[in-house]
Symmetry: C2
């Protein structure tokens, strides 16, 4: 990223807001401009220092911009790229931060075939939302996946690679389809599971007593991400439907296994099942991304 370029962040929530803060913290000297649909949101992004200025007018915001990072829900990315392209410089490079990639990459190629676009997904974030929760260190040691297609220019990929390395991420390239299958398990399934757990516990009432009144740290941790944004997660579940549904079914079979062992009072099977889970989780804590 040219250190004096103009960068546009379209939709300044937690991820784009943190990207703006991180770039400034790492000495980026160009202008960071926020564009979006709601003045209140952009004003907050400006107040926390994530953007230098903001506008609701794409033509104004995109003038002379070299890089445009789309931070909308995943179902709006491709349409936004198409809409912004007409106002952007011909050599402007578009990228995104969405958590599902195959649909976005396919739709961008179809809707805006001449636009320079590189699909990206910095794997960071939390149940917290909006630029108010943005943090300059959000991407430190995070993994950022790039999903170039055969049509993507290698120099465009390199620029997005540099962008994310600059804010502390470890960058990995893979196909959009491999990304979506991996994230269905590692991120989307946990969201579905946490959400289902919140519902089941809330629906349990015994002798007039709600089970929620007897929930503590375990429930709190296990369901934390269920509080996340419905506007962000609904399109994720729809765009990655096939992989997520398959992951949920695999998860159900795993539950059947342990429920069967519990009902059969198979002590060895229960102990071994818990032992492996505990061992997996402890190794993850010791070395969150051991493959890198």
């Amino acid at each position: 990223v040219d250190n004096h370029a103009k960068i546009v962040l379209y939709g300044v929530g937690l991820i784009n807001g943190s990207l703006g803060l991180a770039l400034k913290a790492r000495g980026f000297a160009g202008r960071v401009v926020g564009i979006g649909r709601r003045a209140e949101t952009l004003e907050i992004a400006c107040e926390v220092g994530a953007v230098d200025e903001w506008t609701l007018d794409p033509a104004d915001g995109l003038r002379q911009a070299r890089l445009v990072v789309i931070g909308t829900p995943v179902d709006c990315v491709a349409a936004t790229v198409k809409r912004l392209t007409e106002h952007a410089e011909p050599d402007a490079l578009f990228t995104d931060v969405g958590s599902v990639k195959a649909g976005i990459v396919r739709d961008c190629a179809r809707l805006a075939p001449t636009t320079h676009f590189v699909g990206a997904h910095p794997i960071a974030g939390s149940e917290r939302m909006g630029a108010k929760a943005a943090r300059a260190d959000l991407f430190e040691n995070a993994v950022c996946v790039l999903t170039p297609s055969t049509a993507t220019h290698p120099e465009d990929v390199q620029r997005i690679h540099d962008l994310w390395e600059r804010v502390g991420a470890r960058v990995v390239e893979m196909s959009p389809e491999v990304h979506d299958a991996l994230l269905a398990a590692s991120s989307h399934l946990p969201h579905v599971v946490a959400s289902a757990l919140a519902r089941v516990v809330a629906d349990t009432v015994v002798d007039g007593r709600p089970a929620l009144d007897f929930a503590a740290g375990g429930f709190r941790d296990t369901t934390r991400i269920a509080a996340g944004s419905v506007e962000m997660w609904t399109p994720i579940l729809r765009e990655n439907a096939v992989e997520i549904a398959a992951a949920v079914r695999r998860f159900s079979r795993e539950l059947d296994t342990i429920a069967d062992a519990i009902e059969a009072d198979d002590a060895d099977a229960i102990r071994e099942w818990l032992r492996r889970s505990s061992s997996i989780r402890r190794r993850f804590e010791e070395n969150p991304a051991h493959g890198f």
Copy 2:
């Protein structure tokens, strides 16, 4: 609790260790004695200040003790009560801290029918284990459930009630069976779910890439409790088998509901499902035990 009495903590892990620390922090002036099977564990409990002294000899430790708190895994509580009774003062009051109650209450009445015993469960703790993780404030605003039977002396219940209120807990009484059905949903199900999730993600490899390498904060929170003690959790799953298996089957049906909606691409159903989960979880965060 008589402020100058001698209290015995049998098995000094996270819960009993925190109880010892909390009693001292709240001005308890009597002696707290640790008993157990392993000198190393008791030495740690002594070092962190959870007990004043320790012994491996029950006869020695129980002399003149007024209160004995059993902190073993749930499948050892009743046998431990029976074994210790012969060394204890005739009026010594026994209680426990186990997370399943019906079996313990039934077995104590059967194995040690003349022993004063009140089943108790302070709902606190974490994936961390041992006296080293003990905290004097662990029970502040925690709920502690007492499960007296018709045979339990009311004055015994009152003493255990006072014990837990003294260290900051809100005390609730109910039958062991109601307790076990509630905790199956609010605590045991989350443990099973977190454990299953750790396994499913660990078992997902796409194009040679392990999904665990692409897991971040959501997976970390959702699976944290899976790291918990296998020695503690295996007997919990066995002792509360019927209720836990039923909770797991309810949870599976909830997953079927959302998997069906995802496969049918029913946007309204997905959005409404996520909306309610998110709303439940946010209300829980604002008011963790709204029933009290």
